[in-house]
């Protein structure tokens, strides 16, 4: 799952008590329930969100 999302620090993120952590947990959950066609979309959405979080809080990633 982590490789599919191309977010190596996903494990760490998923345990984080923050909105960002919640996003990571939710994306993982959705990814597991998604069809193969939907998965790239969810992965792209997660990467986009993490980029935006990093832009807002650069010290967190």
């Amino acid at each position: 799952m982590k490789e599919m999302l191309e977010v190596p620090e996903l494990d760490e993120l998923s345990t984080e008590k923050s909105v960002r952590g919640e996003v990571a947990r939710l994306a993982e959950k959705r990814l597991q329930a998604a069809t193969p066609e939907e998965r790239p979309l969810i992965a792209a959405a997660l990467r986009l969100l993490l980029d935006r979080f990093a832009a807002v809080e650069p010290d967190k990633l």
Partner: protein
């Protein structure tokens, strides 16, 4: 981060005193009038400002200032405020005691300026809370604790529960939405935007290009039969266009001749030339305008108007059978059951009377027969009524269906009219139909007047619908020419006519070239390669935008749900913790609390009902808000919180609840910092036992110099 010290330069009854505080429980102990409340009031007064400085200003002094020092995580934050001028000096230092942030501005309690906003943001970043009301509702518990009510406080509490990420989330969500609506106007979450965005513009462009390309592709791939059919169709269209063009050429010649003749003044005695073209015909546009008509109409207009008239006729025809049916339904009479029932009752009474008076039984035959006759009559009337009703219902269904079908057609027609810019109301359509008839008459009259003498060519019918595109163009061109059929004309109009004629000629020429290509079996479309590549590029671009929109939508939904879950998880945690603590304090009398959408607490009573907190005693309310503050401090746990300051929180609690509440705050102190103010000597003994840090206030010597106390000093003092 903990509050390390409170330095009171000139504050209430204190002058030049410093109170050191520790992590964990800090007990400020002293009798009444010792200055306990004044001491803790220094915290909100320094951080946020003070409503009534005169209360805190020392007697006979014109100064009031204090300093707070916070420490934690290698950081030190010092906040100093002159309460008379509201000048604030905030310094943030790192672990090497280097200044990281410094703020020095005037920030009054209700300040709304840029400096005040910047200061509050700074406080929120460093200490977790940048607002006095929120501070009093979450960290401070005075004699009358700030209750959780009001929309503004509810919003702040929710934001506080959401943590510092709330603002980041808003910023991110805003940027995602902005990007989404720069790509498409359609919103899956609410109202669409008015104007088309990139995706819709591309769609439109593709739709415009697709038919052309489809036409080209068809031309290239159709079988010979189709090509032959197309050649025939094109040939017919060219013949029609040629006729129109010839007519236009003749007309332009005529106008040119008139224009050339115009400057020459006619002799006064010479009668005006009698000709069909320049006789008593007024300029056509003027005549059309005078009749309230547009100068040109869409070729589809007569067809639409004809259809509208047919629908109106159909609807009108339906009115007659409907009204007849209504009359018929009114004519149907229900059996008079009331009357029949009354008569039957009378007969039964009569029979009973006969039986009681001892008359012979045969005398009952007459009333019994009458009763049966009444019932039979009633049954027959009911049957005829039911049958008539059924027939009427069937007929009404049929008519209603016809009417609905007609109305549906009218609706479709209205849409088509709207698309052509025509009015949609039936009365307007009737008026328009009359106008179109006038339009046609005027044009025919005019054309009959402008035709050259002896011309045998057919009269044009500009407003009639034509099947082919080419013919429509020809008609449009004809209409365009007609708009300038205004008698003598001038040079400008002549030039315009010539320009239009040239354009039409060019179109005709292109059409001939197309025909020649088809006849020669050559592929049409001179730049089809370029068009294909452009089309492909557009399709690729559209695909990219569509994917980006899908990703953005997924991201927005993901973020919104994550924020909701995050806030809900914290809220649920808060409710759970507060319920557990409050249940312990009240010894399971109130096992559960809940917060409504406005963060207003309610208590469950009798395992069934929920009651708002106002319905309970002061002691219960105090215990509840104490539990909520302790639970909130625990749930937040982000290291940015201010200490919990409890000014005599047990004043309204009975002995049992006092013990429970004390245990609760003692446990809470383990995880952070808690400042408890009391005059209760029992607490002094507990402090010695639990090794709390004690700050003893002596009412006799308030002005003593700064006093450094250690844990042991505090304990020994009490012992």
């Amino acid at each position: 981060m903990i509050l390390r010290s409170i330095e009171l330069e000139e504050f209430g009854k204190f002058r030049g005193r410093t109170f050191e505080l520790r992590h964990g429980m800090n007990l400020v102990l002293g009798p009444n009038e010792a200055g306990k409340s004044t001491l803790v009031e220094a915290i909100p007064a320094v951080l946020f400002g003070c409503r009534d400085v005169s209360r805190l200003k020392p007697w006979g002094k014109n100064a009031c200032a204090a300093r707070l020092v916070f420490e934690g995580g290698g950081q030190t934050v010092e906040v100093h405020r002159d309460l008379l001028s509201d000048d604030v000096h905030l310094i943030e230092r790192d672990d090497l005691y280097q200044v990281v942030t410094e703020f020095r501005e005037r920030v009054p309690l209700r300040g709304r300026g840029v400096a005040a906003k910047r200061y509050r943001n700074l406080l929120a970043r460093l200490l977790g809370i940048g607002d006095e009301e929120l501070f009093r509702a979450t960290c401070f518990f005075g004699h009358t604790p700030q209750e959780w009510r009001g929309d503004e406080l509810s919003r702040k509490l929710r934001e506080l529960l959401g943590g510092g990420s709330q603002k980041d989330y808003e910023q991110i969500m805003e940027s995602l939405l902005e990007e989404h609506f720069s790509l498409t106007r359609y919103s899956p979450w609410g109202r669409d935007k008015q104007q088309d965005r990139q995706l819709e513009i591309l769609d439109r462009e593709l739709a415009e290009r697709q038919p052309q390309t489809a036409g080209e592709v068809t031309a290239e791939t159709v079988d010979p039969d189709d090509t032959a059919a197309r050649i025939r169709r094109l040939d017919e269209e060219i013949a029609r266009d040629q006729a129109e063009y010839d007519k236009g050429v003749r007309y332009v010649e005529q106008v040119r001749a008139r224009t050339a003749a115009q400057p020459q003044p006619a002799p006064a005695t010479t009668p005006p030339p009698v000709s069909a073209a320049s006789g008593d015909h007024a300029p056509l546009p003027d005549r059309l305008r005078a009749a309230g008509l547009p100068e040109s109409l869409s070729p589809q207009t007569p067809e639409l108007l004809g259809e509208a008239a047919a629908i109106r006729q159909e609807l009108a025809e339906l009115q007659q059978p409907l009204s007849r049916l209504q009359q018929q339904e009114k004519g149907l009479k229900k059996p008079p059951w009331l009357l029949l029932g009354s008569l039957a009752l009378l007969l039964i009474v009569a029979v009973l009377a006969v039986l009681f008076t001892g008359l012979p039984v045969w005398s009952l035959l007459l009333p019994a027969g009458a009763l049966l006759a009444l019932l039979g009559f009633g049954g027959w009337r009911q049957w005829t009524y039911g049958k008539g009703r059924s027939i009427c219902d069937q007929e009404r269904d049929r008519l209603e269906k016809q009417r609905a079908a007609a109305l549906a057609r009218q609706e479709l027609l209205s849409e088509r009219c709207e698309a052509l810019g025509l009015p949609t109301a039936p009365i307007d359509l009737v008026r328009l139909q009359k106008l179109v008839a006038q339009h046609r008459d005027l044009l025919q009259e005019f054309w009959s007047g402008t035709e050259p003498a002896g011309s045998t060519e057919r009269q044009p019918e500009p407003a009639e619908p034509q099947p082919s595109v080419a013919s429509e163009q020809a008609v449009d061109t004809g209409s365009g020419l007609q708009a300038y059929d205004d008698g003598p004309g001038d040079a400008t109009e002549l030039a315009e006519l010539e320009r239009r004629l040239a354009e039409f000629g060019q179109q005709l020429h292109d059409r001939r070239a197309e025909l020649a290509r088809l006849q020669a079996g050559l592929p049409s479309g001179p730049v089809s390669g370029n068009t294909d590549s452009e089309l492909q590029a557009l399709k690729v671009r559209r695909q990219e935008i569509a994917v980006r929109v899908a990703v953005l939508r997924q991201a927005i939904e993901l973020l919104a749900e994550a924020v909701e879950r995050y806030a809900k998880s914290d809220l649920l945690q808060l409710i759970e913790d507060a319920s557990r603590l409050f249940s312990k304090v009240t010894r399971d009398r109130y096992p559960e609390i809940r917060l409504d959408t406005r963060m207003h607490p309610e208590l469950r009573v009798d395992d069934k009902r929920w009651q708002p907190v106002e319905c309970f005693s002061r002691g219960t309310v105090d215990a509840l808000y104490l539990a909520l503050r302790v639970a909130l401090a625990r749930v937040r746990g982000d290291g940015r919180s201010l200490p919990l300051i409890l000014d005599d929180p047990f004043a309204h609690l009975d002995q049992q609840r006092f013990a429970g509440a004390l245990n609760m705050v003692n446990l809470a102190a383990v995880q952070g910092q808690l400042i408890l103010l009391s005059h209760n000597q029992e607490l002094a003994r507990r402090a010695a036992r639990e090794r709390w840090h004690v700050v003893a206030l002596d009412p006799g010597s308030p002005d003593q110099t700064a006093m450094e106390e250690t844990d042991h000093d505090g304990q020994l003092h009490l012992l």
